[in-house]
């Protein structure tokens, strides 16, 4: 009788222990197989594990949030779609540049109020178009970092963030971030161009800048050969910057070659042609060494 009572009392606990042992044993067997089913679990990023590929939906939103932050809250809604900035060139454009002026016109989306409710409501929102200045520009960086975490394949996140990091004097952080972008996007000529600009303008290392820009040109060419229709404007920019570097170092023939290449993607090919003509004249002019009497 007593034994029956003991068995009945201990029975559930014994079953529990047996079940736990079975779970543990099964886990050791399944561990290897499960890691092949899903790549999500292997990721070291919490957001990738939680959201999977759905995280890319949020990445765009965080990038827009960076733009909203850049404009201190003055930003068109989805109902002002026609007036939303079409690209992100305004995020890296300086005052007075054509991109900045075009952007100024685009951001005049509010217009006159249509009724008293809208007129009154404007007292409670940001209704002036401004951009962040000085050290406040760093306020857009957290959103860009989050956007990069959520969608590492979004190239402009890296280029825009690197531009502002350089502007804030954080050159090492900019380089690190761009290299992270390159790891995630090895064929990106945009990131290579930005990295080259960093070496040229911030680190004052023209030799390194040249190598990176040459690599960017090669990557652009590879994408064109693969039929991916890469951005002609970017080709123009890369060739233009490289030409400028070659001209500074006295390699005029190479500079002319690059300027001809830049004409393909330049919105003002006549300006490039003028520079080509000037360089040709310089090249044709006799060198001082050839005529000692001129000294």
């Amino acid at each position: 009788m007593r034994e029956t009572r003991n068995v009945k009392r201990l029975g559930p606990y014994v079953i529990l222990v047996l079940l736990l042992a079975a779970c543990f044993s099964l886990a050791t067997v399944l561990q290897d197989r499960v890691s092949d089913w899903s790549k999500r679990g292997r990721s070291d990023n919490v957001l990738k594990v939680l959201l999977g590929d759905g995280r890319r939906l949020f990445a765009d939103q965080f990038f827009v949030q960076a733009d909203v932050s850049f404009h201190s809250g003055y930003y068109p809604s989805i109902f002002d779609q026609a007036n939303r900035p079409k690209d992100t060139s305004h995020l890296t454009a300086k005052e007075g540049e054509p991109a900045a002026e075009e952007h100024e016109k685009q951001m005049n989306f509010l217009g006159p109020p249509r009724d008293w409710i809208e007129r009154f409501g404007r007292h409670f929102i940001v209704n002036e178009h401004t951009h962040l200045e000085g050290s406040h520009e760093s306020e857009i960086l957290p959103w860009l970092k989050l956007a990069a975490e959520l969608d590492p394949q979004k190239i402009e996140t890296y280029t825009v963030a690197a531009y502002w990091l350089r502007d804030l004097g954080k050159v090492k952080e900019a380089e690190r971030f761009l290299r992270e972008g390159l790891l995630n996007n090895p064929g990106s000529y945009d990131i290579l161009f930005e990295l080259g600009s960093l070496y040229d303008q911030s680190s004052h290392d023209p030799a390194r800048a040249r190598k990176i820009w040459e690599l960017a040109l090669r990557r652009w060419g590879e994408q064109e050969a693969a039929g991916k229709k890469p951005d002609l404007l970017k080709l123009g920019q890369i060739a233009d910057f490289l030409a400028h570097l070659e001209e500074k170092e006295g390699h005029l023939a190479r500079a002319i070659q690059l300027l001809k290449l830049s004409q393909k993607g330049s919105p003002h090919p006549e300006a490039a042609q003028r520079r080509i003509d000037e360089l040709k004249q310089k090249l044709a002019a006799p060198s001082p060494l050839a005529n000692p009497k001129a000294r």
Binding site: G73, S77, D80, H123
Partner: protein, 259 residues
């Protein structure tokens, strides 16, 4: 007045005895502190993203507390049959409505004060700058907006059968107004008749709760809203509170109390 305050007192005690507020406050605090402790590009001076996240969580928490607390007030009284002894005393139905409203509104006010105090401490320690007047104005406007929401939910609690359906519909309506209310006139202009008239009528009839969301002014260090505008917005909210409370009383006075 004493009766109304007595009923309000019971509602306030209910708020701090239940776990809702503490759970939401701890969640808000943990998320804000975790986000605030992250260092982006070795820069600890960035503060706007922390303010953005903190204020968003405060708004969500305050709305959840307001709607959830209010939606169950009158249905709970009816379910527990405590409405009978309450009305058997010399307490009119109007006093019950007003008392429940005052209790929920004051309880939300207290919750907001605690949440905003936390926000002030977090943003102040990072920014080393305390625009207290701006914060007080934001708190006041949010509290006034919650008053409209509470009155609306109270009306819903005497119209709809269950607190869950009332809370769900109230959330949808409030969030709809907050996100889309400002733009209904633009939407109306793009529609053909008679949809245009319908949408425009809706635009003029709804309480414009989005006016009271001045988070962007706080986050981006903008100047204060004019005090006259603030006063007019408060008056506008009080009028809508009156409309919804009167509507709730008109429905409640005819409603049988048996389930």
């Amino acid at each position: 007045m004493n009766t109304v305050l007595a009923i309000a007192g019971v509602v306030i005690k209910e708020l701090y005895r239940r776990k809702d507020f503490y759970v939401l406050f701890v969640l808000t605090a943990v998320i804000t502190l975790v986000m605030g402790s992250v260092s982006f590009f070795h820069d600890t001076k960035m503060v706007r993203y922390v303010k953005d996240i903190a204020l968003l969580l405060i708004w969500i928490s305050a709305l959840v507390i307001a709607i959830a607390t209010t939606a169950r007030q009158i249905p709970a009284e009816r379910e527990n049959r405590t409405i009978f002894p309450l009305l058997a005393k010399p307490v009119t139905r109007w006093q019950v409505i007003l008392g429940k409203f005052a209790g929920c509104w004051l309880a939300c006010g207290m919750a907001l004060i605690v949440l905003y105090l936390f926000f002030v401490v977090v943003s102040g320690t990072r920014e080393h700058h305390w625009p207290l007047l701006n914060y007080c104005q934001a708190l006041w406007l949010q509290w006034v907006m919650l008053g409209v929401v509470i009155a609306f939910v109270l009306l819903g609690s005497v119209v709809f059968a269950a607190p869950s359906s009332n809370a769900t519909i109230s959330f949808i309506v409030v969030l709809g107004i907050l996100f889309v209310g400002r733009y209904l006139n633009q939407v109306a202009l793009q529609e053909p008749e008679p949809l245009k008239t319908l949408v425009y009528t809706l635009y003029f009839l709804i309480p414009h709760l989005e006016w009271y969301d001045v988070r962007d002014l706080i986050i981006y260090d903008q100047k204060l809203v004019g005090w006259v505008d603030c006063g007019l917005a408060t008056l506008y909210a009080l009028l809508y509170m009156g409309v919804f409370l009167l509507g709730a009383w008109l429905v409640f006075r005819r409603k049988p109390l048996n389930l």
